[in-house]
Symmetry: D3
Subunit: 137 residues, 6 copies
């Protein structure tokens, strides 16, 4: 009985899209409004999917309270109400696009969760722009 379970969490952060190896005008051209030097921000919605067998004792794939606690301690504590570019180790030298944030979150959670689980994350930057990692196809 292999089931996927999902937990949705959110965090609010500031960021700026910028590649230091490009000129200012190239950055402006490439990232548009998202290159604003003083940052802008988002309410990020994060969905984490964990796949595994139903435990016959609990009827759970994973205890959602445990999953939520891990996401809170390892992801939200790091990123919530932060400036991703300035306040986090992960994006000091990595452009905080939704794509890169999703990869970073996936890697952190992969280290925290038991290896027999399969993990996937969706990150919503807005209601209309979101990403999925690992890729669907």
């Amino acid at each position: 009985m292999r089931v996927s379970v999902f937990r949705k969490e959110h965090f609010n952060a500031a960021h700026r899209l910028h590649n230091p190896s490009l000129s200012d005008s190239e950055n402006k051209e490439l990232f548009g409004k998202c290159n604003n030097p003083n940052y802008h921000g988002h309410n990020y919605e994060l969905v984490v999917r964990v796949t595994g067998e139903i435990d016959p004792v609990s009827g759970y794939v994973i205890d959602m309270k445990v999953l939520s606690k891990i996401i809170n301690e390892k992801i939200l504590h790091k990123f919530d109400h932060k400036n991703l570019n300035l306040d986090t180790q992960e994006f000091k030298n990595l452009n905080p696009t939704a794509e890169n944030i999703a990869v970073v979150i996936y890697q952190i959670l992969s280290d925290e969760l038991d290896k027999h689980y399969n993990i996937k994350v969706w990150l919503y930057e807005t209601e209309r722009n979101f990403v999925e990692y690992p890729a669907a196809d």
Copy 2:
């Protein structure tokens, strides 16, 4: 032309998470607030996905009115405004976690729908906790 179609329905039910082979304190430890002896409840949102070929006469994979009728008669009639633990045969001896409810719903629909369709269900216990069966990966 193979397409997947989705129908979203909902039902309201009471339940209690409890494993009779565990002690009361073990149940309390494992299920926390969800172990409340007098039950609590949810607005369950159910999404059913049916995959098949587009019928060249109707332009449908399956008539949504037919799919909705089957879900209503076979799932909602059984579970809506019910106590899953006390009022249903399915959860008399099966812990009504979201995982187990999704498996049961999948099995009922698999018996009702033509075998050439592939079926998947998502069950939302809350906006932030939901499950998918069969598992995504």
Copy 3:
């Protein structure tokens, strides 16, 4: 600078609509599926509106962290993952319709919040059925 601020919270509870002064058949007739003796349940969404002056020091009408804490301690702690009919003092002798739950929540919050605030609550029993107290007109 008089502003209204809103905080949205949620709780999951079981309930049964029943009037002990009516016969069983009258209860069944009046409340339909909601009269199920073994209860059913909902994800209740609660919106609390607080109206007051903007404090010139904080720029707040009321600190949302404080408002959220009061709602959690005085409302959610009482009702979340509970059977409203069996587990709560408030609905021992009061039918837990959405209307009555909203009035009870309003009264509790009125006792907790400073008297210079105006308060209103919305309670969503489902996405399609909800109530507002005090009445809008």
Copy 4:
């Protein structure tokens, strides 16, 4: 670093489900209210998923501004505030079911986007009825 990115757009259109090779009563029987000769309409929500490698310069799989522009010029410009049966070449001789609209949108986008991207579309006819193409399984 293969990631899937999603862009959500919407359009409002009128349509009628009808198969000219069937009799009027057969059409009425098959399509019910959706066969109304004078059309009815929907707010269609369109989600486009594009899968590819993260570009190391931009941190993007694809620039969302570019993807949104393509969807607007090639899909919304064609279908928004239109009668799908009467105003569009695509559905002159093709029944505008959600299934067929999704296939048509997929084919248009496949011609517009670089071949190294994988594409999938979801089309929501209502919040409760939606389709996915190519099929999920």
Copy 5:
């Protein structure tokens, strides 16, 4: 104990904004894409608010099943899966803007519901455009 209760319903319809006393180019200028001669359409979301005293026997302001039945029989039966301009008496000679549809729905419901209730309607043409009648202020 005066409480307001809300019921949300929806219908799908085609319409065209057009004023026959204006020229074609004036109509085009005024209504833009909404003037398309072949119609376009929407998923209309309708919220009806009814204000009254809580009935001490039922704990209800109004039985939601009764309210839903009235909305279905008197509003949805008329407008759902219809072309508002062609298929309805109400909009034969009245431009079916969201404003006018809301006024018409309010008037129909006012005739159907007991006079001691206060009524208000919200009509969502899209998630981003909606109206309220009677006016809020």
Copy 6:
């Protein structure tokens, strides 16, 4: 025929809650995570309500295209993808709480719209925290 019409728009911005007349520890105590010196951010959802008579020629209270254009030019152009504290004149010396942002938006729109309209704004900082100005009661 007095009707209220609503237009929903959104913008993404960074901000920091801080009162320069308080000490750092007082600011930290009062604003908590929202006082982060490097800013955080939100997807702000803005709802603008305009009340007036239905124009007999158009059937509109106000043309939504015109209202949307004003909101875009006068509000979104100023605040979208900006740092409210650093990039805007309005919040150079005013703490950008949701309350204060709503008042500022209301004042800008009041100057732009005809005086015979009544205006109200709702600003959603998150799905769970939002404000209304002028106050509801």
